[in-house]
Amino acid sequence: MAAVDATGGQALPAIVAASTGARRGPRLGIVFWIALGWIVALVAAAAFADLLPFPSPTDMDMLERRAAPSAEHWLGTDGLGRDVAARLLFGARASLTVGLCAPLISLVFGGAFGLLAGYFRGRLDTGIRGAADVLLAFPPLVLALAVTAFMGQSLLNMTLILGFLGIPVFTRVARSATLALAQREFVTAARALGATHTRILVHELLPNVALPLAAFLLVAIAVNIVVESALSFLGLGVPPPQPSWGSMIGEGRESLDSAAWLAFTPAGVMFATVLAFNLVGDTVRAVTDPRRAAGS
């Protein structure tokens, strides 16, 4: 019984994908759309935070410390009387700036290195893999900590460092995808037609490597949001008084016994965001999985 179920379960998605693929692509499910909606709403809210009717995220009001939610302060105020909702939105700016920009840097450089290593193989491959292994041997937070401590705290520095640290992982993803693709017929055909290396890399391989890289990008965004908040929590992220989810959690921890929501609100928003990026990334990966595409 179980064996029948298992084989049936494997064949079914391929059929579904094939039949619906003819119309509008595979069905993505309600969870995917909720996750995507959350991301879009958050990005929009963070981008237009200045235009929204919230108090300043840095204005202190010592008479209204740790106030409960009210018409004036939708999510209450923190230990220094600052508006929590506004701090969450402006904190989203820091998280999303680092979360979106750093993986893009990693994607561009890691993708290029991976393509070159996987296509040319040989010494270049060994060199690139060795460099990637060296970077991977450092726990990412350690390197980020050391570099922020010396280069100074700013959003730009943090983005650059985290982007640099993400390069080896993207290199690996791009390299393994390229290795498999470089053996395929269409590459051999292009070479037989006299295509240059540049043409094969840009026109034949890049479009095919782009999909797994894009799926991985979404997961990397989630990881970078977490690392950003960790650095801010440790006091090495966005310089205060600028809000960040990590530093909000850090400040909220001091009053866990009297006002636990001050830590739980930013923590919950961060969890929802990370989960949303992971969910969308997982769906994109499943949809663009070359094994599944080959099967259907």
């Binding site: 064996a3 350690v142 050391a146 010396f150 990370v274």
Partner: protein, 316 residues
């Protein structure tokens, strides 16, 4: 086996060298060298230059790197300029805390992950499997920062079962030590069980489809025996790798968790060296963490070869 070991080692030596080089470059190329840190902002250019000459900082970087590397190879990582303690002694003092935390966390994560994975693999696609797989996916999105906050709030603030922060040495009180290690270990374990569960579950599902499992069942062996004796060992290869990577990472101290719970491990040492701009200490700890990571990875590769004969005899 030995040839495989030699080949891996031969590849890892340049990686280790690269780790050392990068460590050195980070500390020497970034603005704010040891002389500026020691003398502060008020230093005149003349005193700075004099101190740099004394410390050998005026020499070209390749020469300084060679000098430093020669010292490191002799086991001398230098002295912290703040405490005067040697870097090796500082690491040796903190390492047991990080190792204990790592072991407890791994143990906790495996205790949750292995039974769940086995049950899920047996009832693949069932209600319990779908629930646990979904839970694991959601748990992967919970940063340790978040689970730490929730655990402190629940177990320390609300129920006051466990202390929220602080550290009691093992030789002072074993129970006190375990009590203060419980929350940090739990926090780490919560982040690790999903990955362990997922790899063991998927490996187990493919193992259970093998012919020899059907044969074992046909022979009338008890289902538990088939699962635990015949299926578990060949399914645990990826699990070993993932657990190994976790161990390698945690040897360098769980930065966030040690900071939240104020545990005096390697992570806190590193954090302190960053805040104090203690360059020599920072250099030494980062090099140790990187080298430990490389070494544990080598050990995991070897264990992998022991567990799977195909790797031992194949191309590897």
């Amino acid at each position: 086996m030995i040839r495989l070991f030699a080949r891996r080692l031969l590849y890892l030596l340049p990686v280790l060298f690269g780790v050392a080089l990068l460590t050195f470059l980070i500390a020497s190329l970034l603005p704010g060298d040891l002389a500026t840190v020691l003398l502060g902002d008020q230093a005149t250019p003349e005193t700075l230059a004099a101190l740099r000459r004394d410390l050998g900082l005026d020499q070209p970087i390749p020469l300084r790197f060679a000098h430093w590397l020669a010292q490191v190879l002799q086991g001398d990582l230098g002295r912290s300029f703040r405490t005067g303690q040697t870097v090796v002694a500082a690491i040796a003092e903190r390492l047991p805390v990080s190792i204990e935390l790592m072991l407890l966390a791994q143990l906790g994560a495996l205790l949750v992950a292995v039974p769940l994975a086995i049950v899920c693999a047996v009832r693949e696609g069932g209600r319990f499997d779908r629930f646990v797989t979904g839970l694991a996916f959601a748990s992967l999105s919970v940063p340790s920062l978040l689970s730490a906050i929730v655990l402190i709030w629940l177990l320390a603030v609300r129920l006051s079962w466990l202390p929220a922060t602080g550290y009691v040495p093992l030789d002072e009180s074993a129970i006190g030590n375990l009590r203060c290690m419980a929350l940090p270990a739990l926090t780490l374990a919560m982040g690790e069980w999903p990955a362990l569960m997922r790899v063991l579950r998927s490996d187990m599902i493919s193992t259970l489809k093998e012919d020899y499992i059907a044969l074992a069942r046909a022979k009338g062996l008890k289902p538990a025996r088939v699962l635990l004796v015949h299926a578990l060992k060949p399914s645990s290869l990826t699990l070993v790798t993932v657990a190994g990577i976790n161990i390698a990472r945690l040897l360098g101290g769980a930065l966030i968790v040690e900071a939240i719970f104020a545990l005096p491990g390697v992570g806190r040492l590193l954090l302190g060296s960053v805040f104090n701009r203690d360059l020599v200490l920072l250099q030494g700890v980062v090099l140790f963490v990187g080298a430990a990571f490389v070494a544990v990875n080598l050990a995991v590769d070897m264990l992998y070869a022991v567990l799977d004969p195909r790797i031992r005899h194949g191309r590897g």
